[in-house]
Amino acid sequence: MELYNSGIIEALDLMDSGEVSPEELLDAVFQRINSVEDKVKAFVTVTKDRAYEMLDEAKGERGALRCIPLAIKDNICIRGIPTTCSSRILKNFIPPYESTVTKRLKEEGYLLVGKTNLDEFAMGSSTENSGFHTTRNPWATDRVPGGSSGGSTAAVAAGECLAALGSDTGGSIRQPAAFCGVVGLKPTYGRVSRFGLVAFASSLDQIGPITKNVADAALLLGIISGHDPSDSTSAPLHVKDYTALLSEGIRDIKVGIPKEYFIEGLDPEVESAVKDSIRHLGSLGCSVKEISLPHTGYAVATYYILATSEASSNLARYDGVKYGFRAESKDLLEMYRETRAQGFGAEVKRRIMLGTYALSAGYYEAFYRKAQQVRTLIKEDFDNAFREVDIIITPTTPTTAFRIGEKISDPLQMYLNDIFTISVNLAGLPAISIPCGFDSKGLPIGLQLIGRAFDEESILKVAHQYEQSTEWYKRRPPL
C-alpha cells in the first residue's frame, strides 16, 4: 500500500516500529499533493513550510497524533495562517488566535498540511459555492465532492492527508464523506468546542473528523472533544476513550430504520446498498426494526429558516470596517453595500436575504418562531424513537455524487441533498457516515448511523464493526 493512503493508526504503527520516519510520511503526503492536487483542488492554502516547522517541534514528542499530517477546513482558525472560509471577503484574513480544536490537535503533535476548500462560509453541498474554485471528486473528477467540507473529504480520499477536520451544519461533513467514500462524523452539538470555527449557524454548527476508517474518527473525536471555557455551548461532560470502546459487543444493539427516509427520489442503487448494509448488521447480531420520525418532511424547510436566520446575523460582521475585504467607496453606506456586494457570493447573499426576511418584524412569528417549534417536534421524534432503539440507520444522501454544474442553478434541488442529514443537526444528535457500497458508476455510497445525544460510542462501535467486516473502506479512488 502507498504510504499516503494510510490512516492515522496505521501510520502511527509504522512510525513507532521505525519502519517509516515522520519525514518520510510527510514527504509522501506532499509528493501526493504535488501529483494530484491539480486534479482534485482540495486546498485553499497548502501549508508546507508550517508542516515541516511543526515536524521539527513534534519529532520525538509522545502525543497521540505524533507527526500525523492532517488537513483543516478553511473555516477553522489557525493562528498566523489565512482563514478564508473560501470567501473573497476574508481572502486576506489571518487570525491572531487559534481554534480550540487545532490547539488540542497541536498538543498531540499533528502536522498541518493545509486549509481545505469549502462552499463559501460552509453554505452549500458541492464546493461549487467556493469563492475560489470547485473541488473535484477524486472518484470522478467531473463530479462534485459534496459539501460544504468537500475539500477535506476529497483530500482524505485522494491521500493528500491522513485525515481532516470538517464542520457540519446540515450535513456538511457526512454528505461529502458519503460522496468521497470516506468516514465523516458529526458529533453531538456541544461535544466539540466551536471556538475558532467561523460561524454559519451557531445553534447547528459542529466540528468533526473526516477519516479513512472509523477507528481514526474515534481517535480524533477523543482528542477534540470536551468542555471548553471559551465556548459556553460546549458540554461539561466526561469524554470517553472511544478507541477502547470500538470492539465492545454490538449484539444487544437495537437498530431503527425510519420509514420516512426511504422515499421517492432515493436512488435505487443507494437504497439497495443501504438495505444490504442493514441486513449485514442483522447478521452481525444487531436487532433491526422499523421506526417512524413523523416530522421528517418539515426538516428541510425548518432548517433553511433557522440556519439562514442565524447566518444573516453571524455574517453581519463582514462590513469592511475592521478586517478582510473593503471596497472603495465615497461614504459609509456605499462602503457597506459595495463591500458586501463584491465580497460575498450569490448563495451567501441568498441566505442572508432569506434569514433577514425570516427575522423581520411581522414575519418572525410565522417563520423563525414557527421553525423553532417544529425543531422541538423533530427533536421529540428522535426522543421517542430512541426509547425503542439505540441507533438509527439511514442513507446519508439520496444519490451519489452529481456532476459539477448539474444542480448549481437550482438551489432547491441542491438543498434536497441534505434531506437525510439535516434533522440530525436540528436535533443536535451525533451521526456518522461510512462507506457502504458503490453504484454502477463506481461512485461511493454512504450509510448514516445516528445516535442518542452524547452517545457517540454506540454509533462508532457499530460503524467500526460493520466497516471491519466489509471491504468498502479499503477501496481508493483511481486518480
Binding site: F195, G196, S203, S230, D231, R317, K322, L359, A361
Partner: protein
C-alpha cells in the same frame, strides 16, 4: 384645556466591573483607542462570548434594590443593526426574557411620594465609539463590550420634576450598590425619555416622542419641560404629534427631530445561540439579597427616627452612601447629630459642590470635625471662627486646634479685657450710644460688630452682649 405629561424613562447604566461582559478586556476609561480590545470584543470571525458572572450579580443586586422579580430563567438575544462602532453587526442584549422584571422605585416631590414602576432591567454590551476627523472617521472599540444595564420604567412619571427626582433616586441606588458611578456627563449613566401628553384626567395615551441625548442631570428637567411645552403648543395649534425620535440640544435648549417612526430600525431580535440560557438559582438570589447594603430610603427613615433629623437633612445626607457613612461616623464619635448635619449640609457640601470632589477624597475626616465641634462647645472658639477655619481643615486636613493656635484665634472670654474694649468703643461712638439709650435698641448689633472687628472675631459674643447691655443701660 389643561394637559398632563406621561413620561417613561429608559436608562443605561455602565457597570463597574473590572472586565467586559463577554471577554477579559479591562473596562478602564480613557485609555489609548483600541488598546483594551481582543478578538472577542472586536468581533473577529469564529470567536465566542463568555458571560462575565459579575455582571449577573450586579444585575441581580440592582433588580433586588429596585424591588424587581429576578427571573430564574433568562436569555440573551441579538439586536441586529449595522454601525461601524458595533463590531459584530449585532449587540448582545436581552429581549424576551430579561433578568429582572416588575419592580418599582418610590420618589418624593414637594412632599408627595409616588411609586414609579420598573418594567424590566436587562444586561447588554455597550458599543464602541466613532471619532469623526476632517476627512475620515475612526472607530475606537475600547468601550465595545463594556457591560450595561438597561432599566426601563413604566409610563408612570407625570412631570419633569418627577423625572428628575426619579433619576436622582436611581443614581443614588446604583451608587449605593457600587454597580455604577452614575456620571451622566461622562456617559456612564444615560437617560432616554418617552414623552406624551393628554388632557388632564384622561387615561388614554397620546402619541409619544423619544428624547435622546439627555447628557446631564441638569438637562433631565429642562429637556422634558421643553418637549412637553412643545407638544402642548402643537396640539393647541391644531396639529398632531408625530411619533419620532428627537435629540436634546443643550446649546439651543431645544429638542430636534432625529428620525421618524418610518425610519426606525427593525432590529430583528432573536435568541443568542452562542450563549446558553441563564438559569439563576434561588440560593444565589438569596445570598445577594442578604448582602445588600441599607438603601437610601431605609437609611433616610432611620436617620429621621434614630437621629431625630429633619426630613430635609436626612434626605440630603442619604443621597450618597459615603456621605451618610461619614455622618454616622462623626455621630458615633460623640457629636450631636443635628450639629454634624448642619456643618455637613453647609460648609462641607459647599466645598464638595465647588470642587466636584467626593467626600472620601477630602482630607477632613469625621474625627477632625468632631474635634472642631468640641472646641466650640468648650468655648475655645466661636462658631464664626469655626466657620472660617473649616475650609482650611477640609483642604489641608490639619487639626482645628493647630490652626486655632497658629492663628491666635482662641476666643476672648476675659470679661475685664472685653469691658475695657467696650468702654473704648462707647467713648468713640457717643452719638450712637446716646441714640441707643433713647430707645434705638437695634444699634446693639452695631456695637457687637465693632467689638468683633476690633478682636478680629475672637470675642465671645455672649459675653460681649452682656457687657454692652449693662454699660448701655
Amino acid at each position: 384645556m389643561n394637559y398632563e405629561a406621561v413620561i417613561g424613562l429608559e436608562i443605561h447604566a455602565q457597570l463597574l466591573t473590572e472586565t467586559k461582559i463577554f471577554c477579559g478586556c479591562s473596562t478602564r476609561f480613557g485609555s489609548e483607542p483600541n488598546t483594551q480590545t481582543c478578538p472577542v470584543c472586536i468581533g473577529m470571525p469564529g470567536v465566542l462570548p463568555v458571560l462575565n458572572r459579575r455582571v449577573v450579580e450586579f444585575a441581580i443586586k440592582t433588580g433586588l434594590a429596585m424591588n424587581c422579580r429576578i427571573s430564574s430563567y433568562s436569555r440573551f438575544a441579538r439586536k441586529n443593526y449595522f454601525y461601524p462602532d458595533l463590531p459584530k453587526g449585532y449587540q448582545i442584549s436581552q429581549y424576551e426574557l430579561p433578568i429582572c422584571e416588575k419592580g418599582y422605585i418610590d420618589i418624593t416631590v414637594d412632599g408627595t411620594t409616588r411609586r414609579v414602576g420598573i418594567t424590566r432591567i436587562h444586561m447588554e454590551e455597550d458599543a464602541g465609539k466613532n471619532i469623526h476627523e476632517k476627512d475620515c472617521s475612526l472607530v475606537d472599540l475600547n468601550r465595545a463590550g463594556v457591560p450595561l444595564l438597561e432599566i426601563v420604567t413604566e409610563p408612570d412619571i407625570r412631570s419633569p420634576q418627577e423625572a428628575s427626582a426619579f433619576m436622582k433616586k436611581l443614581r443614588a441606588i446604583l451608587r449605593y450598590l457600587r454597580v455604577c458611578d452614575g456620571n451622566m456627563e461622562q456617559g456612564s449613566l444615560r437617560c432616554d425619555a418617552n414623552v406624551s401628553i393628554r388632557p388632564e384626567g384622561s387615561d388614554e395615551l397620546g402619541t409619544k416622542t423619544e428624547i435622546k441625548n439627555i447628557n446631564s442631570f441638569r438637562f433631565v428637567e429642562k429637556a422634558l419641560d421643553y418637549e412637553i411645552k412643545r407638544q402642548i403648543r402643537v396640539i393647541r395649534d391644531g396639529g398632531e404629534i408625530v411619533q419620532e425620535t428627537r435629540l436634546w440640544n443643550s446649546e439651543t435648549g431645544k429638542t430636534e427631530s432625529m428620525r421618524s417612526k418610518e425610519e426606525a430600525h427593525d432590529y430583528r431580535y432573536f435568541p443568542e445561540p452562542d450563549l446558553v440560557p441563564l438559569e439563576i438559582k434561588r440560593e444565589m438570589v438569596e445570598e445577594i439579597k442578604a448582602a445588600l447594603p441599607e438603601l437610601p430610603d431605609e437609611k433616610k427613615a432611620r436617620f429621621v427616627r434614630d437621629y431625630k433629623l429633619p426630613e430635609y437633612d436626612a434626605e440630603i445626607l442619604t443621597e450618597e452612601r459615603s456621605i451618610a457613612e461619614w455622618f454616622e461616623e462623626a455621630v458615633r464619635l460623640g457629636a450631636r447629630p443635628k450639629e454634624v448635619s448642619n456643618w455637613m449640609l453647609t460648609e462641607i457640601m459647599r466645598y464638595l459642590n465647588e470642587t466636584g470632589k467626593e467626600i472620601e477624597e477630602i482630607d477632613l475626616r469625621p474625627p477632625q470635625l468632631v474635634e472642631l465641634l468640641e472646641l466650640i462647645k468648650g468655648g475655645t472658639i466661636s462658631r464664626n471662627i469655626a466657620k472660617t477655619i473649616l475650609p482650611e481643615m477640609i483642604s489641608t486636613g490639619r487639626p482645628a486646634e493647630e490652626i486655632v493656635r497658629e492663628k491666635g484665634l482662641v476666643q476672648i472670654s476675659d470679661t475685664s479685657e472685653l469691658e475695657a474694649l467696650v468702654d473704648e468703643i462707647l467713648s468713640k461712638n457717643q452719638k450712637e450710644a446716646q441714640r441707643y439709650r433713647e430707645g434705638e435698641t437695634k444699634l446693639l448689633g452695631f456695637f457687637v460688630g465693632q467689638v468683633m472687628k476690633a478682636t478680629k472675631g475672637k470675642a465671645n459674643p455672649k459675653i460681649v452682649n452682656e457687657i454692652l447691655r449693662k454699660k448701655l443701660s
